[in-house]
Symmetry: C2
Subunit: 166 residues, 2 copies
């Protein structure tokens, strides 16, 4: 008679609930992240930008020839390609970026930052960096920042692979 081993069933069914410490860490992480994003969006609002717009302008302004393939930009900004494409269209309408075909290259198009986009980032950057300092960086001791960087980078690399696989 085939009886499913109880231990196996239990293992599958029992969720690995978070311990109190883990729950507290997760709550602090995700809640702070949401609050920060909303605050940064509010601080960028007077400039007519969102944090997503800002992030894309920075990546493009720092890229060689001020341009990136859509796949590279999706990777750098941790967005899905379809979501990014909508975002780029909205930014194109406002004259901040422009799509150009890759010469002799079938792998799609580049996104280029326009002179207007460059001027925008230059104007907004001092205020944005001040807001990142005021709401986050200035309140975390440098030693803790180093722990954070070392802990998060491998988690991020892993997540990027999960996304690419799916």
């Amino acid at each position: 008679m085939a009886i499913e081993p109880l231990a196996e069933t239990e293992k599958r069914v029992q969720p690995r609930w978070l311990s109190d410490d883990e729950q507290q860490a997760w709550g602090a992480y995700i809640r702070l992240a949401k609050m920060l994003m909303r605050q940064l969006d509010r601080d960028l609002h007077p400039f007519g930008l969102s944090t997503n717009d800002y992030e894309i302008l920075v990546e493009l302004s720092e890229a060689p020839d001020n341009r990136l393939r859509m796949t590279e930009l999706a990777d750098l900004t941790a967005q899905s390609r379809s979501r990014l494409s909508h975002q780029i269209t909205r930014m194109e309408v406002r004259g901040l970026v422009r799509r150009v075909a890759c010469d002799g290259d079938k792998r799609g198009t580049f996104t280029v930052i326009t002179p207007r986009g460059l001027a925008t980032i230059e104007r907004v950057a001092p205020s944005h960096v001040e807001s990142v300092r005021r709401h986050f960086i200035d309140h975390i001791p440098p030693a803790d920042l180093a722990v954070l960087t070392a802990a998060y980078i491998p988690v991020m690399e892993r997540l990027r692979k999960v996304r690419d696989r799916d």
Copy 2:
């Protein structure tokens, strides 16, 4: 002749740019947060929930009498009241929560989780906790989690006050 002191002008104009270490920490923090939220949303998608829906159901299910004032819920979930109100309306339409008037209390309404909302959270929780573990908690050493919790809680308290003041 009134000449503005140069030092003062310089101080106002010079942005306090991030150091390389700070830049790396900030990039790791905010990029991971975005990737995690998108991944958790994708993992919740088959259940018809977003991470925001999930968070609200958890807070309500853990509250006394399964209900919270809108102001309390806005505080706990770090959302603005207007954004939260739209979210609650969408969840009400789907039968997950319900608004009720506070007896003899002019301070507005309560949001209550419905039996359907409770059943939903019970069904989804094991999968969600697994996804939090797989994408974040299981990859961070407990000592680092403790450092991060201690670092984030005061930053969060500060941000909450900034938001209330504005």
